[in-house]
Symmetry: C2
């Protein structure tokens, strides 16, 4: 694959109309700081542009069909997930790419799409805490974790809502490149990383746990 | 102006090749949660698309010339600021728009461009802590603050590096819509807001202060 000839890791971020901005660009900020190690591609069902839930639109770099191999595949949440969970060609294309990608992560309600693929059946996962009921109802075979900033199980990372994706991205950077690199990336972005996947005040805030 | 006919506030985010992703989309995530109160426009020197420093490209909604009035004008940092501080037509277009906009904010090294306009001469401001020397050297008439997550002076907000823009955006939301709205927006994004503009561990980390 052309993009692989300089030995950088290839990261694909899936986008769709109604994707959530910070789900997408929090993680990409962190991976984007590793320009000597990671290349970023925005992946869409069709070429052209897609519009975020907040309005701003981004350019699709590759369609699902144009991607052969990736090292990391991420999918954000956003109101568009309500449509895409029922878009079977989209779910299938995402599943096929996820099956052959070594590291796969969802942010926020992106977990609903990941769950719909069946690839995380029997595995632990989390999702947005305000939309927890909707997202988890998409697949009852997943072991949904109510209180977690993010969950790692096998090759899958799933984060809680929106800003949690940034903390999870740093955990994936730590896994791939070590703790010092993750801290350096966080410090470069003047970001106080929540390194503890169990620190999640939003489970209680949204009534998912009692204490 | 057409966009104003529903009484929403109009927010313009300036983008340029080499803009920083999280500088831009952290704040826009927060304002984007207020869809009944705020419309977001991406503003560029030319129509078309601009490419972030990390790779992903976004669509310019309006050129400087196409904007008549805004309620808020924001400008991010990123490596592209090194070029744009010396792009006088860009600085002039930004200045003209900033002069007539009630709330103006910079994120990270976006402060260097804001400073180049002369509009914050004699005012307090801050910027990225790793690039502090470069950014502050762009204009010695600004009262540069070494330790601050963000600084408010008159109609201008300036934030520290990258992720600090998100905390500043919530402070601007608080100013415009009240504390409860800011907290609600932060909670909706599962974001633990640093509400204290003086909390800034990155000044010391980058050797700007001794203790």
């Amino acid at each position: 694959m052309m993009e692989n000839n300089d030995n950088k890791l290839q990261l694909g971020m899936v986008v769709f109309d109604g994707f959530q901005l910070l789900d997408t660009f929090g993680p990409l900020e962190m991976f984007g700081a590793l320009k000597d190690k990671v290349d970023i591609l925005m992946i869409g069902e069709r070429s052209g542009i897609v519009k975020s839930s907040a309005g701003p639109a981004v350019v699709v770099d590759r369609t699902f069909d144009e991607i052969t191999t990736l090292d990391m595949l991420l999918i954000p949440g956003g109101m568009g997930t309500r449509r895409e969970v029922n878009n079977q060609p989209f779910v299938d294309a995402f599943r096929k790419l996820a099956e052959r990608t070594p590291h796969v992560a969802s942010i926020c309600t992106g977990a609903a799409i990941l769950a719909r693929t069946g690839l995380i059946d029997g595995l632990k996962a989390t999702t947005n805490k305000r939309a927890f009921k909707w997202a988890t109802s998409q697949r009852d075979k997943v072991v949904w974790i109510k209180q977690a900033r993010w969950v790692e199980d096998g090759k899958f990372f799933t984060s809680a809502g929106v800003s949690a994706g940034t903390d999870m991205a740093l955990a994936l950077i730590q896994k791939l490149f070590g703790h010092d690199v993750a801290i350096s990336v966080a410090n470069g972005a003047e970001y106080e990383w929540n390194e503890d996947p169990h620190h999640d005040p939003f489970a209680k805030l949204n009534g998912l746990i009692d204490d």
